[in-house]
């Protein structure tokens, strides 16, 4: 079943087309990563699909037009974690995760016992229970990343958009973050659409990759379909090889001659 469908999406800034007639459909339960060189339009596509940026064209969430949804209705369907989320000074970890419950509360309403219970579970799931009283700015990069994901999970939406969730994390934390997303997908049956720079990691975790270039979709399919060395070399202006190690694809740069 198609959960999120974008049809003929254009985004123009001044004279420049950032997204040029992009059409994508995301199936329920998929883990899709949007990849491509800098400036390809990955983040713009993500924020348009998350309803946070206006664009011409249509976006359907299930059978409903995104434009017809109120912000609250939209936020019950779509969660979004930007590449560099705000870190409000002095905000405690548990208060931060609790903000994810906002779309489920009545207008100007406060959290009830169910919200507190759910957030407590999410904190435990993300190994944040002991950090609940700490302020966000006192956390390490890996812990912060868990907080952002935890807030999105507390939002309890069927789709989560993550803009480069592994930026600023070391190799170990990158893998741990992606392992956690994999577990979350299994436990919460959530559809994940994320942008990634690391093609190797993206290919090893995601079901499907969308390769973008200059505001258009250059390739869309399974990692092995999309990661064609010639195509990558052409689009990225780099020399790369795609190796297969134990049935995992590995994209490696080769010094050009």
């Amino acid at each position: 079943m198609n959960l999120c469908v974008a049809r003929g999406v254009d985004v123009r800034v001044g004279q420049k087309l950032i997204l040029d007639n992009v059409s994508v459909s995301i199936e329920a339960g998929e883990w899709v990563s949007v990849v491509g060189p800098n400036g390809a339009g990955k983040t713009t596509l993500l924020s348009v699909m998350a309803g946070l940026r206006t664009a011409s064209g249509n976006i359907l969430i299930g059978d409903r037009d995104l434009k017809e949804l109120s912000p609250r209705e939209r936020a019950r369907l779509l969660a979004y974690v930007p590449q560099h989320p705000e870190i409000p000074p002095g905000m405690k970890v548990d208060s931060y995760v609790l903000l994810g419950r906002t779309p489920h509360l009545s207008f100007l309403g406060m959290e009830g016992p169910d919200d507190f219970r759910l957030v407590q579970q999410v904190l435990e799931q993300f190994d944040l229970a002991t950090l609940g009283q700490r302020t966000l700015e006192s956390l390490s990069g890996g812990e912060l990343q868990r907080c952002h994901l935890a807030r999105a999970i507390a939002q309890a939406t069927p789709i989560i958009f993550l803009d480069e969730p592994t930026t600023a994390l070391d190799l170990g934390h990158q893998q741990q973050a992606l392992d956690r997303i994999r577990r979350l997908r299994e436990e919460h049956q959530v559809t994940v659409v994320m942008t990634m720079h690391d093609l190797t990691l993206a290919s090893q975790y995601c079901d499907r990759m969308i390769l973008m270039s200059e505001g258009q979709i250059a390739a869309d399919g399974t990692p092995s379909e999309v990661l064609d060395p010639d195509r990558l070399s052409d689009l990225y202006g780099a020399h790369v090889k795609v190796l297969n190690i134990d049935d995992h694809l590995v994209v490696v740069p080769i010094v050009g001659r």
């Binding site: 705000e86 000074p89 002095g90 905000m91 100007l108």
Partner: protein, 345 residues
């Protein structure tokens, strides 16, 4: 336990602070009324209690018609300015925001100056024109800032609004200064108004401010959780389902209405809207759910105490409130800032 549940003790401290301040404000004064008798007089007015305080009618009048309205007005002004400041800091995500940020002070100053120099400062009949023009001046200035800020750029950013506030304030201050210079005979009156005072406090002024203060404060309090969401910035706030532009508009309207009414009855009292919320944040954490209610309580207590200092230090003369708020508030704030490592927000 989740942070959001730990609120009762802090609120209790706030209530104690306001009771202590009000008690001091009611019992201390140049009339030298016996404090025990004054306490008995206060208790006498409580339901189901009847005590003879032994005070003369004049002494009773001093308590009920001079000190009480002054304490109540001081508490209302302090609470309104502090909660307005806290809400401005939240919607603009700027720790330097205060209730006068969008030109309210300059507008009120211009309004009051016009009223004073045109001679209507003493009132037309029994009607006092200074508060009315100050109130209108403040509201018009904020409205002008809002229109200017939101029509100036393609990006409806809070920064454009802040810059528009600077422009409007400078423009109105220029006009106010010009009018003042042209009418040097009233400069002392204007100056005294600008520095803020509660010495004219009466029940009339209380009833003028109370409805606005109440509506403004309640509205801001209703948005206390939403203002925590606003701390995530417009994009993320929008991603969890709120409309940041609309929230900003409602909160600015509420805070400006309260500020305009407070300024109208007390003149320009600086620093309260800045110092009180930040002190509360440093002591009780940054969540607006606690910062807003505590700012109301501590703002009220702070201004009542400051007013008490202002009328006691050089008694029977009075030191302008704005001078005391800055003189006491700034060093106190520095002490709190240095003794606490928490970040401002």
């Amino acid at each position: 336990m989740l942070s959001e549940k730990l609120r009762a003790p802090a609120l209790f401290v706030g209530f104690v602070a306001i009771l202590v301040a009000a008690g001091a404000g009611l019992l201390i004064g140049p009339a030298g009324i016996d404090k025990t008798a004054a306490i008995m007089e206060l208790l006498d007015r409580m339901p189901f209690i009847s005590i003879d305080s032994g005070l003369s009618q004049i002494q009773k009048n001093i308590i009920w018609e001079v000190r009480m309205p002054r304490v109540v007005l001081g508490a209302l002004v302090g609470a309104t300015l502090a909660v307005s400041g806290a809400s401005y800091q939240a919607v603009f995500r700027n720790p330097l925001a205060d209730p006068y940020l969008l030109g309210a002070a300059a507008g009120a100053g211009l309004g009051a100056t016009v009223a004073i120099v045109t001679g209507s400062g003493d009132g037309i009949g029994t009607f006092d024109v200074v508060p009315l023009l100050a109130f209108l001046g403040a509201l018009i200035a904020v409205a002008l800032t809002y229109l200017l800020g939101y029509s100036s750029g393609t990006q409806r950013s809070p920064a454009a609004l802040l810059l528009a506030g600077v422009a409007v304030a400078s423009f109105l201050t220029a006009i106010q200064t010009f009018i003042q210079q042209q009418n040097v005979d009233t400069i002392r009156q204007v100056y005294s108004w600008i520095l803020g005072r509660l010495n004219t406090a009466s029940w009339d002024e209380v009833s003028l401010l109370a409805p606005y203060a109440l509506v403004s404060t309640l509205l801001i309090l209703m948005y206390r959780r939403t203002l925590d969401v606003m701390r995530l910035g417009d994009v993320e706030a929008s991603s969890v389902g709120i409309r940041p532009q609309l929230v900003r508009l409602v909160v600015i309207c509420a805070a400006s209405l309260g500020t305009a009414a407070a300024v109208a009855v007390s003149g320009l009292i600086a620093f309260v809207g800045l110092i009180v919320p930040h002190t509360v944040r440093l002591l009780a954490g940054a969540s607006n759910r606690i910062v807003l209610p505590l700012s109301i309580l501590f703002g009220a207590a702070f201004l009542v105490l400051v007013d008490l200092l202002g009328r006691s230090l050089a008694s029977p003369a009075e030191i302008p409130l704005g001078v005391i708020t800055a003189f006491c508030g700034a060093p106190f704030f520095v002490i709190v800032l240095r003794s606490n490592k928490r970040t401002l927000g």
